[in-house]
């Protein structure tokens, strides 16, 4: 729908114009941001802890050191984190197991944040290719991941795309409410970079649980705010309790790489 709206507007509004403006935005109190994840790929768990900055500040990762982290699962295992860089914490390598629930607790600056995530059963990414979306002068090449959704169960997916080793700044989150049991070839509309013939493309499919789907889905809505776009912008719906931003995801991973023909 968003695309149709944009196209329609482009046609109707011959004189629309865009300019960078100065807006006086409030400086909210700094808030903690926790980004934590583990997969079934024997890479262990990683946690990045940072704080928000003001809108006028720079786009740098504002890491926070010295957090106490505990990660356990419902089988009674626990995993220890060590800080490898400012605000970056990692465990030793291990593989998460589908069906197992992982619990994380972060203690920092007198605050405690907790979350849990259940790793879903894996679904394989069968293949991937690119497809031309003809839009006149704005022709666009999109990546199409191909997979078969398991019938009769709820699945949620998140996709990440790298072009020549650089990750695209897009958020893709899909569920199977409308495509249960289908062979899915849904293009990932690319608003960030131009994909050209000869580019090396990697696409990663994550199987995620429902709260994490809600997180990525609500984050993707943030991008399309404004009239003709979508919802009133809001913070993505976090699965953490305790009042921080961010998410904790235990997901499975399946990837494909190819050269654009």
């Amino acid at each position: 729908m968003k695309h149709i709206t944009i196209i329609a507007m482009a046609c109707v509004l011959l004189t629309g114009c865009e300019k960078v403006i100065e807006i006086d935005l409030n400086d909210a109190d700094k808030k903690y941001v926790v980004e934590a994840f583990l997969s079934n790929q024997n890479q262990g768990a990683e946690l990045r802890l940072s704080r928000t900055t003001s809108f006028s500040g720079s786009n740098t990762f504002n890491g926070v050191s010295g957090a106490q982290i505990s990660l356990t699962n419902n089988l009674g295992n626990s995993y220890a984190f060590t800080e490898t860089g400012t605000g970056i914490y990692k465990t030793a390598a291990f593989s998460g197991v589908p069906g197992i629930t992982y619990n994380i607790e972060v203690n920092v600056g007198g605050q405690t944040f907790t979350a849990s995530s259940t790793m879903p059963q894996p679904v394989a990414l069968d293949s991937a290719y690119t497809e031309l979306f003809a839009a006149g002068a704005d022709d666009q090449i999109n990546v199409v991941p191909v997979y078969t959704d398991p019938a009769g169960m709820a699945n949620q997916y998140r996709f990440r795309v790298w072009v020549n080793g650089v990750e695209e700044k897009n958020t893709y989150a899909y569920d199977d409410l409308l495509s249960d049991g289908r062979r899915v070839t849904r293009p990932l509309f690319n608003n960030d970079s131009d994909i050209k013939t000869g580019d090396q493309v990697t696409v990663q499919m994550q199987c995620i649980d429902r709260p994490i789907y809600t997180y990525w889905y609500s984050l993707s809505q943030q991008a399309s705010s404004g009239p003709g776009g979508g919802a009133t912008p809001a913070n993505p719906v976090s699965n953490f309790s305790g009042g921080c931003l961010g998410y904790f995801s235990a997901h499975t991973v399946s990837s494909r790489s190819f050269i654009v023909q």
Binding site: M1, I21, S58, N59, N62, A135, L178, S218, G228, V237
Partner: protein, 862 residues
């Protein structure tokens, strides 16, 4: 802009300046008065809420206004019992009796009734809202929407003065010694307004002064035709946005907000049929082709009891009947659309037909593009209005009218979306006798959209529809010289098909049908207008509505976290019935011929809800009926107004203050997944709202220069648990100040100029108050809902119309307009992104749409 009139008024300059000073003084006084009035309104609202809470079962009896009613000789006793069933939720209201104990006190004097129809001499169109007044007796009435009137007067010699907007008034002398029936024809007002006589009675366009009706705005077609609009496409919905209390939903948008309500809280009626989506092309144009429209009335408050179903306003649009004197062909060619209108008699003087069509042709230019994707694109809409009326006999008249409109939007072969409304109305007027008029209507309304997508192996379409069948009867009974009774009933069956997906075998989607929803909306109303004496009149009534949700289907119980806890399966029958009593009370006190004060209380209930989280009008916005979870929205509004004519009736000043309390307001949860979800309740949150404000308008009604200055000061807020940390927040449409200045100047027979300037405080919006890095991307951090403001909006539009040489019956004109004449870059959206010049920084980007949009159109008539 309003300083100009002084030089052209027939009065000397001095008097004009004094008059302006006086007006400004009054304007100032009203600003001070505002605080007082809002406090009064708040106090009343507070008392009302307390009463409602503690004495709900007996509420109607405790209402002071009720006491007032009971002491009147004409007694409407509505005794309402409230009982709770075992579920403890459903309230059963049983209207046991409404007794007309009216000792229909035959006035001491013998009285007779004069009734009839008021029509235009030129084309036989019935005239709505014409004033019929007995000179020297101060007794009068207005013609109804079929031009019918009925007036009871003491026997004897009577001089009837008949006036209507855009018509020359007439005075008829009669000997009233029996009940009389008549048809009164009025001449059109000449185009050149130089010799306009100002009438002392103050009835000329002085609709606001007398009676009890408040919160009402009327626009004449002349005003709609002269006021410049975007791309020269005359538009009722955009022109009403220049009136106080009615706010535009955005740049060039035909959507509107009334007194703090959202766009779906407006009841939009075309010949009594509900129009669900009144916009074309994402709201830039409305579905109403002004060639086919006779009358436009907006009720912002104090809605009469015959209207119900929406919280904020009623926009009642009546189509032309068609010329029954001779054939007329008229039309126009503009920048984006062409129009053609054909009308004529079926039986001369008795019955007529009208067909009116409009189509845009912007897509013709797309075809010229060398780009294959663009030249295969579609972008157009069309409208078709048709109507006929037929006299069945002296006492019966039949009207059949229909509207059909469609938008087609397609991008190459890949996307397509079509949507449209269709309505049909059959009405039968019956005059029982000179005092009792009845109308029976059968109405059909349909809205649907179909979205199709084809991309690679994906090929599917989505269909959604809402369909109504409505049968109703309305009776207008001129009981005696003091009482005018109106009563009736209405029954509507709604079918909502929220979404149906059809996909090809290779597509990524399954075929899927969301449950159809059925409901039955019944209404019963009665109201009486009682004229106590020359100065005081009172309208009191009750509308009783019952909304029944019908099976079959699955209904859900949802917990606070938005999870389905229980699925209730119904194979048929009634799932739930919401019964609501909606009191409507209004009182008017006329100090003199020139000034009056009015107060009103109205409750409105809404059972059809538009679920939309986008501010522009997208056709995929969802209409839902109330369910076991989605409760009827309720609004209680109190308003107080002052109306006065100034400078011998040349000017009119009105001021109205209101306070509105809203219940069961709906919004999305954060991160709601709005698309194709059967249990939509899981994505919604419910809360309350309040809105209050002051609306003032100074209108110049006569002379070469006409127009108005309107100013609205207002506030509208919501409180919904789960949004904004459960605190009150500004609704998106909250705008503190809203100013419109409209001027139309007739230079001579040939040339007319017009201009309007609008200014309003920017919408309340949500902007980030911080940011952070997540997986290498910038994510914005939001702290409060709608805590920021868009920049203030202002714009000047200019228009000019020149009459080309007329031959015999043929005439034509050229209309020029310039939208946004000084090229203000008004913000349409403000978005945030990583800076393109310095990726380490973020920046705000403003998109603005229309600047200096000129247009020219040619209109003809022969």
């Amino acid at each position: 802009m309003f300083h100009v009139p002084t030089s052209v008024m027939s009065h000397p300059k001095q008097a004009g300046t004094n008059c302006l000073n006086l007006m400004f003084l009054i304007f100032l006084m009203f600003s001070f008065l505002f605080l007082f009035i809002t406090q009064l309104a708040c106090a009343y609202a507070f008392c009302y809420i307390i009463l409602a809470l503690y004495f709900k079962p007996h509420f109607v009896r405790f209402n002071p206004i009720y006491h007032l009613l009971c002491t009147r000789p004409f007694n409407l006793c509505a005794i309402i019992y409230l009982s709770k069933n075992q579920n403890g939720i459903m309230q059963k209201f049983i209207l046991t009796t409404w007794l007309i104990t009216a000792s229909i006190m035959a006035t001491a004097q013998t009285a007779y009734t004069i009734s009839g129809t008021i029509k235009s001499k030129r084309n036989g169109e019935s005239i709505i809202g014409a004033s019929v007044r007995a000179l020297g007796q101060n007794d009068g009435t207005l013609s109804n929407s079929y031009g019918f009137f009925s007036l009871t007067l003491p026997a004897g010699r009577v001089q009837l003065e008949v006036t209507a907007i855009g018509k020359l008034g007439d005075t008829i002398a009669l000997q009233l010694d029996k009940n009389l029936q008549t048809v009164i024809y009025l001449q059109d007002e000449p185009r050149n307004m130089q010799e306009v006589v100002i009438r002392s009675s103050g009835t000329r366009g002085g609709r606001s002064i007398s009676g009890t009706q408040m919160g009402v705005e009327k626009l004449s077609l002349k005003e709609i035709k002269n006021i410049p609009v975007l791309l020269g496409e005359r538009d009722v919905l955009k022109t009403i946005q220049l009136l106080p209390g009615i706010k535009s939903a955005g740049e060039g948008n035909s959507g509107f907000y009334v007194r703090g309500g959202s766009t779906d809280q407006n009841l939009i009626l075309l010949d009594e049929a509900t129009v669900y989506n009144a916009s074309h092309l994402l709201g830039f144009f409305s579905t109403f082709n002004s060639d086919a429209i006779k009358d436009v009335t907006v009720y912002k408050g104090g809605m009469p009891a015959q209207y119900g179903g929406r919280l904020s306003s009623v926009l009642d649009i009546k189509m032309n009947d068609g010329n029954n004197q001779g054939y007329d062909v008229s039309g126009g060619v503009g920048l984006i659309a062409a129009r053609l209108n054909v009308e004529g008699p079926i039986q001369k003087g008795k019955s007529s037909f009208l067909i009116s069509g409009r189509r845009t042709y912007a897509d013709v230019f797309l075809k010229a593009s060398p780009d294959s994707t663009i030249n295969k694109s579609k972008l157009y809409f069309y409208d078709l209005n048709a109507k006929m009326n037929y006299e069945l006999g002296k006492k019966d008249k039949l009207y059949i009218s229909g509207y059909f409109g469609q938008d087609k939007l397609g991008f190459g072969d890949q996307f397509g979306i079509n949507w449209g409304n269709g309505t049909g109305t059959i009405r039968w007027n019956h005059v029982f006798n000179s005092k009792l008029f009845a109308n029976t209507s059968l109405i059909f309304s349909n809205y649907n959209y179909r979205l199709s997508l084809q991309s690679g192996s994906n090929d599917f379409d989505i269909f959604s529809q809402i369909q109504d069948w409505n049968l109703k009867q309305d009776y207008q009974w001129n009981l005696n010289a003091k009482n005018n009774l109106r009563f009736g009933w209405s029954s509507t069956h709604h079918t909502v098909r929220p979404g149906e997906i059809t996909a090809s075998g290779t597509s990524s989607l399954n075929n899927q049908v969301l449950q159809k929803r059925y409901s039955l909306e019944n209404g019963l109303y009665v109201s009486n207008t009682y004229k106590a004496n020359i100065k005081l009149s009172l309208t009191y009534g009750l509308r009783l509505t019952a909304f029944s949700i019908l099976g079959k289907g699955d209904f859900y119980n949802v917990n606070a976290a938005g999870q389905v806890t229980d699925t209730l399966r119904y194979d048929g029958g009634v799932v739930k019935t919401y019964v609501n009593a909606e009191p409507r009370v209004a009182v008017g006190y006329q100090f003199s011929n020139n000034s009056s004060i009015k107060a009103a209380y109205v409750r409105n209930v809404q059972n059809m809800h538009l679920i939309s989280n986008s501010t522009s009008s997208t056709p995929t916005d969802k209409w839902l009926s109330s369910t076991n979870i989605i409760q009827p929205e309720i609004s209680d509004q109190v308003s107080l107004g002052y109306y006065t004519n100034l400078a011998g009736g040349r000017y009119e000043l009105t001021a109205e203050a209101y306070y509105k309390d809203l219940k069961n307001q709906i919004d999305y949860r954060d991160g709601a997944d709005v698309f194709n979800n059967d249990a939509i309740e899981t994505q919604l949150l419910f809360g309350k709202g309040r809105a209050y404000g002051l609306e003032t308008m100074l209108r110049k009604k006569t002379g070469r220069l006409t127009g108005w200055l309107s100013y609205t000061l207002s506030k509208t807020e919501r409180q919904i648990d789960g949004i904004n940390n459960n605190n009150w927040y500004n609704a998106r449409q909250d705008r503190t100040h809203d100013i419109a200045i409209v001027g139309m100047y007739q230079i001579n027979k040939k040339w007319a100029f017009s201009a309007n300037w609008v200014y309003y405080t920017g919408d309340a919006v949500t902007f980030p108050s911080g940011k952070y890095q997540l997986n290498g991307q910038t994510v914005y951090y939001y702290t409060e809902r709608n805590g920021y403001r868009m920049p203030a909006y202002h714009r000047l539009d200019l228009g000019a119309t020149v009459q080309l040489k007329a031959k015999k019956n043929r005439s034509s004109e050229l209309a020029f307009s310039l939208y946004n004449a000084y090229g203000r870059e008004n913000a349409y959206t403000i978005t945030f992104r990583d800076s393109e010049t310095d990726p380490n920084k973020t920046e705000a980007v403003q998109t603005s749409l229309f600047r200096w949009i000129p247009s020219i159109s040619w209109n003809f008539k022969f």
